[in-house]
């Protein structure tokens, strides 16, 4: 997969949740190119086009980032703060997708600039429905920032 043609960046350290999300996205044919990373550091490297992802460029951002809140190495809130704090990456839609039910996490997420926040449903079917809905909304209905590379499916 060309790292500059990624539609969705999934950031989650849970293998099962990643599998579920990938499965749901594939099933709905919402996104051809989904890339998954397992910790906050890898996520930042990807988004900021450095380290193992230095061949990536800033003018080909992913259309959507699904970010878990609790991540190893670099925490989700830190990833969010850095991405939303940098003008080069600020406009990439980030949806927090987390198992946390804490109100303070929701407040913090939105305050740091998350585009949206979803508590992962415990139920397998509902999780799939949720991924389907958010995929449809953020990839089809939502208008992204113009001049981002439009990847034709």
């Amino acid at each position: 997969m060309n790292m500059n043609e990624v539609d969705i960046l999934l950031v989650d350290d849970s293998h099962e949740d990643l599998e579920l999300a990938l499965h749901a996205l594939r099933r709905e044919k919402l996104a051809n190119k989904v890339f998954a990373v397992r910790d906050g550091e890898e996520a930042l490297d990807f988004i900021f086009c450095r380290g193992p992802f230095s061949e990536r460029t800033f003018d080909h951002p992913p259309k959507l980032i699904l970010l878990d809140w609790k991540l190893p190495k670099v925490d989700g809130s830190e990833v969010l703060a850095q991405v939303k704090g940098d003008p080069r990456t600020r406009t990439i839609p980030i949806v927090i997708l987390t198992s946390s039910k804490e109100e303070r996490d929701r407040i913090k997420g939105y305050s740091l600039g998350a585009n949206s926040y979803i508590q992962k449903p415990v139920d397998f079917e509902q999780f799939r429905e949720t991924v389907k809905t958010l995929g449809m909304y953020w990839l089809v209905v939502n208008q992204p920032v113009p001049n981002s590379h439009a990847v034709s499916a």
């Binding site: 109100e103 305050s111 585009n115 958010l134 209905v141």
Partner: protein, 162 residues
């Protein structure tokens, strides 16, 4: 029907026909919502600041904002919302007929959470509003007070005009 779990939505649009249509289709969502409306920027901000007559209102969970508003344009309202610490965490969805890249870019720069084009065609319009409802009212979680849904049968909503 659980009134406490209704998602409070503030719709801001100066065109009463658009306002009522959006309100109507949003209220048809399978998830409960309580819809408040404002027809200009000042009214919207007064509502959000709980000023004057709006002193007893709760802060809404979601704001759907048109850009083409009289006196105070949509971008100015958006900026005011996102710069005020008491309301900046409320997600704002821009819902506008404009597809101008400059408008979209500016909206995101000012902190809009999402930008949805308001289509001319009725079929596309209902799809857009339904999608907004499906994601924001049914799926997303909000910073102020959790109001979670997932019960697919509650459709009764209270529509109030602000």
């Amino acid at each position: 029907m659980n009134q406490d779990s209704a998602v409070e939505v503030l719709l801001v649009d100066d065109n009463p026909a658009d306002l009522e249509l959006t309100s109507e289709f949003l209220s048809r969502s399978r998830c409960t919502s309580r819809i408040h409306t404002a027809s200009n920027g000042e009214e919207a901000l007064a509502f959000l600041q709980r000023a004057g007559e709006f002193v007893h209102r709760a802060l809404p969970s979601l704001i759907v904002l048109d850009l083409n508003l009289p006196r105070k344009p949509g971008h100015a309202v958006l900026a005011a919302i996102k710069q005020d610490p008491s309301m900046r965490q409320v997600p704002v969805v821009i819902f506008s007929t404009s597809q101008a890249p400059a408008d979209i870019q500016r909206s995101y720069e000012l902190g809009a959470n999402s930008y949805v084009r308001k289509p001319g065609n009725l079929g596309d319009f209902t799809f857009a509003v339904t999608s907004i409802g499906e994601f924001w009212v049914c799926c997303a979680n909000f910073p102020n007070g959790d109001t979670k849904k997932t019960a697919p049968t509650a459709t009764l909503t209270t529509k109030e005009n602000a």
